[in-house]
C-alpha cells in the first residue's frame, strides 16, 4: 500500500465518519494463496444468504465432485455447490456463524476431481434472462457481507430505474485486504463482471470507489478497463478519502455521485445500484464459464494470527483449518471476529464453517472495548460528530437508561445502519450502537403492535 505522492482530489461523503488505524500492512502485500492442503471436510449450511433455505439435492453416502450443485430451492433462495469432492455425510444441524445451528451438508474429501467449466465464447451476447439464470445458478450472493442473492438485487422492481452502477472497492474496514488483493491480481474479471451487470441493468455509467490507501488497485483497475471492450459504457475508477465508513453503500453513493439516499431506502431510490468487487469477480466467472461460487478470498489476520495472509478458501472450510493454514494462533488470542473489527461479528469457536458472506477472519488479543465496562454519558458530542447520518446516539442511550426507550424515535435509531462510529469514539466506552439497536427493535415492535390493534 502506498500513499499517493501527487495531490489528487479525493471524493468523500459529507459529515461524520472516523479514522481508525487501517492496520492493513500485515496482509496488503500477501498475494492470494490457495488453501494447501484442501480441507478434509467442509460444512455447507443450507442458509448462507438472505432468503429461503436451500433444499438438499444429495443424500447421505452420495459421491459429489467440486462444482456440482448439491442444494437449491425457493423463489428467493440461492443454490449451493460442493466445494470439495468427496462423500456426503449425514445431513444434520451444525453450528453456524450467524444463525446458531443450521442443517448443513457435510462433505468428507476423497479426491481432487472438479467439474469442468468450459468457456462460453459468445458470453458477452448472453440474453438478459440467461445472464440472470447463470448468476442464480452459480449461487452468487452479495460478497460484501450482506449475502443478499445477487440475481434478486439485479432484478429491479417495476418502476425502479437505475442510471449508475457503482462497484464497491472501498474496503474501509481496518485489517481487511481481500478486496484489495483481488483488485490487484484479477482486475479484468472485476471490470468485466461489473460491466456485464451494468449491461444487464441497461446502465451505461459504471463508477468504482476505492479508498486512496489502495492506489495500486486504482491503477490496476484502470489498466484492466483499457483492455476491455466498453461499447457505449463508461468505466471510471474514483479514489476516495480514507475514512470509515466510506464503503457503506449510503456513504459511497454520496461520495461518488453527490446523491443522498433517503433514510431507510435502497440506493435505487436515487438511481444507483451498488455491488462489491468480489461479487463482480464471481459474476464474471458465472457468465463466462458458468462457474459457481466455490471459493471466497479471505484475509486471515490480526495480532492473534502467526502468519497473516490472504487465502482463497473453499466455502464450508472450518475456521480451525484456516487458522492452521496461517501458522496457527497465539495462545493469548481472546477474540475471533468474522469480518473487520468495526462491523464484524464475534464468533465463539473455531469449529464453524466459512460461509459465502465472510470476507475475513480476525484474531484479536487483549480485552475488548466492552469488557472494561462503561461510564455515564458526559455529553462530549463526539458521537454526534462521528455519525454519518446526523443521528443522536447520546440521546438514545440516555433515554434508554432512564427507561424511556419508546421516546427515542426523534433521535433517529430507525435510520441507523449500524456502522459503529458512535461506539468507536465514545470516551466513556458506552455501547452506543447497541443502544441504537435496542431502540430500533423496541420501536419496530411498538409500531407492529399499534398496526395490529
Amino acid at each position: 500500500m502506498t500513499v499517493p505522492t501527487q495531490r489528487i482530489e479525493l471524493r468523500s461523503f459529507g459529515k461524520g465518519g472516523i479514522h481508525p488505524q487501517t492496520r492493513k500492512r500485515d496482509t496488503a502485500s500477501s498475494p492470494i494463496e490457495p488453501m494447501v492442503p484442501l480441507p478434509s471436510e467442509v460444512w455447507l449450511p443450507l442458509i448462507q444468504h438472505l432468503g429461503e433455505p436451500a433444499t438438499p439435492l444429495v443424500k447421505k453416502g452420495d459421491r459429489v465432485i467440486r462444482g456440482q450443485k448439491i442444494a437449491d430451492g425457493g423463489a428467493t433462495g440461492s443454490p449451493l455447490h460442493a466445494t470439495i469432492s468427496g462423500k456426503v455425510k449425514p445431513i444434520d444441524k451444525r453450528p453456524h456463524p450467524t444463525l446458531v445451528t443450521v442443517p448443513s451438508i457435510i462433505i468428507a474429501r476423497d479426491g481432487d476431481a472438479e467439474e469442468e467449466f468450459p468457456e462460453d465464447p459468445a458470453w458477452r451476447e448472453t440474453p438478459h434472462a440467461e445472464m440472470l439464470a447463470r448468476i442464480r445458478d452459480a449461487g452468487i450472493v452479495g460478497l460484501g457481507g450482506a449475502a443478499f442473492p445477487t440475481y434478486r438485487k439485479l432484478t429491479l422492481p417495476p418502476g425502479v430505474n437505475v442510471d449508475t452502477f457503482i462497484l464497491n472497492g472501498a474496503e474501509c474496514e481496518p485489517f481487511l485486504t481481500s478486496d484489495y488483493r483481488l483488485m490487484l491480481e484479477e482486475p479484468e474479471a472485476i471490470v468485466e463482471g461489473a460491466l456485464a451487470m451494468a449491461r444487464l441493468l441497461g446502465v451505461k455509467r459504471v463508477l468504482v470507489g476505492v479508498e486512496a490507501d489502495k492506489m495500486p488497485a486504482v491503477e490496476s483497475l484502470r489498466t484492466a478497463a483499457r483492455s476491455v471492450p466498453l461499447g457505449e459504457q463508461t468505466f471510471e475508477v474514483v479514489p476516495c478519502e480514507v475514512r470509515y465508513p466510506q464503503g457503506a453503500e449510503r456513504q459511497l453513493v454520496t461520495s461518488l455521485t453527490g446523491r443522498t439516499i433517503p433514510p431507510r431506502s435502497l440506493p435505487s431510490a436515487v438511481g444507483v445500484l451498488v455491488q462489491n468487487v468480489a461479487t463482480a469477480h464471481a459474476v464474471y466467472h458465472a457468465l463466462r464459464y458458468r462457474r459457481p461460487l466455490l471459493d471466497r478470498v479471505m484475509t486471515v489476520t490480526g495480532p492473534g494470527v502467526l502468519q497473516p495472509r490472504n487465502l482463497r478458501v473453499p466455502v464450508g472450510t472450518l475456521l480451525q483449518t484456516l487458522v492452521d493454514a496461517c501458522g496457527g494462533m497465539r495462545v493469548d488470542t481472546t477474540r475471533l471476529i468474522a469480518g473487520g473489527p468495526m462491523m464484524g461479528r464475534a464468533l465463539p469457536r473455531l469449529d464453524l464453517p466459512v460461509i459465502k458472506g465472510m470476507n475475513g477472519l480476525l484474531l484479536l488479543t487483549g480485552r475488548g472495548p466492552l469488557e472494561e465496562g462503561f461510564g455515564p454519558c458526559i455529553q462530549c458530542g463526539r458521537c454526534l460528530d462521528a455519525c454519518p447520518l446526523g443521528l443522536e446516539p447520546d440521546q438514545v442511550s440516555v433515554h434508554i437508561e432512564a427507561g424511556r426507550t419508546l421516546d427515542t424515535d426523534p433521535f433517529g435509531p430507525l435510520d441507523c445502519y449500524e456502522c459503529g462510529c458512535c461506539t468507536y469514539v465514545c470516551p466513556s466506552g458506552r455501547p452506543l450502537l447497541q443502544f441504537m439497536q435496542v431502540a430500533k427493535s423496541a420501536l419496530r415492535r411498538a409500531t407492529d403492535i399499534r398496526v395490529k390493534t
Binding site: G14, P20, Q21, K89, P90, K93, D163, T164, P174, T257, G258, R259, T260, I261, P262, P263, G271, Q320, M329, T333, T334, R335, L336, I337, P341, M342, M343, G344, A346, L347, P348, R349, D351, L362, L364, G368, P369, L370, E371, G375, P376, I378, Q379, C380, G381, L384, L389, G390, L391, E392, D394, G420, T423, Y424, V425, C426, P427, S428, G429, L433
Partner: protein, 332 residues
C-alpha cells in the same frame, strides 16, 4: 449426530461481544487528567506569585472535592469514580477562581459543596446542570463575601512577599476608581499590558497569567479535547459588550475570562453538544460577562455568566440538533 463428525479438540473459548471490536484511544479518564495537567502551569504560577496561602487553598479545595466524591459517590451509588479525575478537576478549577487569602476551611467547604450539591445530587458525572466548580465559587461568594471580595494580595514572584499586602484586583480598582487606578495597579512591572498577560497582578490564584491559561487551553485545543467554538464566541461576546465603554482591552485581558472561556464554559456536560448551540452559548456568556461587569453588581462576571448560560443548555441542545444529510437524488 455421530461422534466422528464433531471436531475433536475442544475449541478455545472466545469472548463474545457486540462490535465494534476496536475503539478510539480517548477515554473520559484520560480527558479529565489531561485537563488537570493543562491547568497545572496556571496553578503553579499562582502558587509562585501568591505563595503558601495559594498552595493551601489549592490543596484544601481539591481535598474537599475529592473527599466528597469518594463519600457521596458511595452513599448514593453514582457511577462516578474518584479515579476518573473529574472531582480533582472540579476542586482544582474552584481553587483557581478563589482569592489567595480565602480561609482553608472555606476552600475545603467550597469543594465539598461543589461536588455534593452541584454534581452528586444530580446523579454524578454527566448529569449535572451547572458547572460544579462555579457553583462552589458562587456558594462561597454568597456565604463568605468578605474574604471572597477582599482576599487579594499583590503578586511577588518566588515567595518574595512573606508579609502579603492586601489590595484590590484590576477590575475592582477600575470599577471603584476608574481606569487610571486600574492601570496604576498594573504599572508595577512596566507596561500594564505585560502585567496582565504575564500575570503580575492581583487576582484569583489561577486567573492572573493569561499567557499560562492560554497555554493550557492550547494543549486542550491541540489534543482536540475542546474546540475553539465556545472560547471564541465568548471573546466576541465580551468584545461586543465592552467595546462601547472603550475598555475592551482591559476586559479581554483581566479577571477570570480566559480561565472561564477555555476551561469552564467548555465543560462537556454543561455546554451544548452541537456547534451552533455552542456559538449561541458562547456569545451569551460573553455578553452576560460584559453586561455584569459594566452594569451589574460585581467587578467580575464570567462566573455568573456561565452559570446562567448553563441553565439554557438543555434547551439549546433541543433547538440546535445535528443536521441530517438532506435527501438529494437528482441524476447528475
Amino acid at each position: 449426530m455421530s461422534a466422528e463428525t464433531i471436531a475433536p479438540p475442544e475449541p478455545a473459548p472466545f469472548v463474545i461481544a457486540p462490535g465494534p471490536h476496536v475503539r478510539a484511544e480517548e477515554t473520559t479518564t484520560k480527558i479529565m487528567w489531561t485537563v488537570n495537567a493543562a491547568l497545572a502551569p496556571a496553578a503553579l504560577w499562582g502558587a509562585l506569585v501568591f505563595g503558601l496561602p495559594a498552595v493551601g487553598v489549592i490543596v484544601a479545595a481539591v481535598a474537599g472535592a475529592v473527599a466528597s466524591e469518594a463519600v457521596a459517590g458511595r452513599v448514593v451509588r453514582t457511577r462516578t469514580s474518584v479515579r476518573d479525575g473529574s472531582a480533582f478537576c472540579t476542586g482544582l478549577l474552584l481553587a483557581l477562581t478563589l482569592p489567595p487569602l480565602v480561609p482553608l476551611w472555606a476552600a475545603f467547604l467550597g469543594g465539598a459543596f461543589a461536588i455534593i450539591f452541584a454534581k452528586t445530587i444530580f446523579g454524578g458525572l454527566g448529569y449535572n446542570l451547572f458547572n460544579p466548580a462555579l457553583i462552589g465559587r458562587a456558594f462561597l461568594m454568597a456565604t463568605l463575601p468578605l474574604p471572597m471580595t477582599a482576599g487579594w494580595i499583590t503578586p511577588a514572584p518566588f515567595f518574595a512577599n512573606a508579609a502579603a499586602v492586601t489590595t484590590a484586583t484590576p477590575l475592582g480598582a477600575w470599577r471603584e476608581q476608574g481606569i487610571t487606578a486600574a492601570m496604576n495597579l498594573l504599572g508595577g512591572a512596566g507596561s500594564p499590558w505585560v502585567s496582565l498577560i504575564v500575570g503580575l497582578r492581583p487576582g484569583s490564584i489561577g486567573e492572573v497569567s493569561v499567557l499560562l491559561v492560554v497555554l493550557g487551553g492550547g494543549v486542550l485545543l491541540a489534543r482536540r479535547i475542546i474546540t475553539p467554538t465556545i472560547p471564541l464566541s465568548i471573546l466576541v461576546g465580551v468584545l461586543l459588550t465592552t467595546a462601547p465603554s472603550g475598555q475592551a482591552g482591559l476586559h479581554l485581558l483581566s479577571g477570570g475570562l480566559w480561565l472561564g472561556a477555555l476551561f469552564m464554559a467548555t465543560d462537556y456536560v454543561t455546554s451544548p453538544s452541537t456547534r451552533n448551540g455552542q456559538i449561541v452559548f458562547g456569545l451569551l456568556i460573553g455578553a452576560l460577562t460584559g453586561i455584569i461587569r459594566i452594569y451589574g453588581g460585581y467587578p467580575e462576571g464570567i462566573c455568573y455568566a456561565i452559570l446562567l448560560a448553563n441553565t439554557l443548555v438543555p434547551a439549546l441542545n433541543l433547538w440546535f440538533r445535528p443536521r441530517r444529510p438532506v435527501f438529494a437524488g437528482a441524476p447528475s
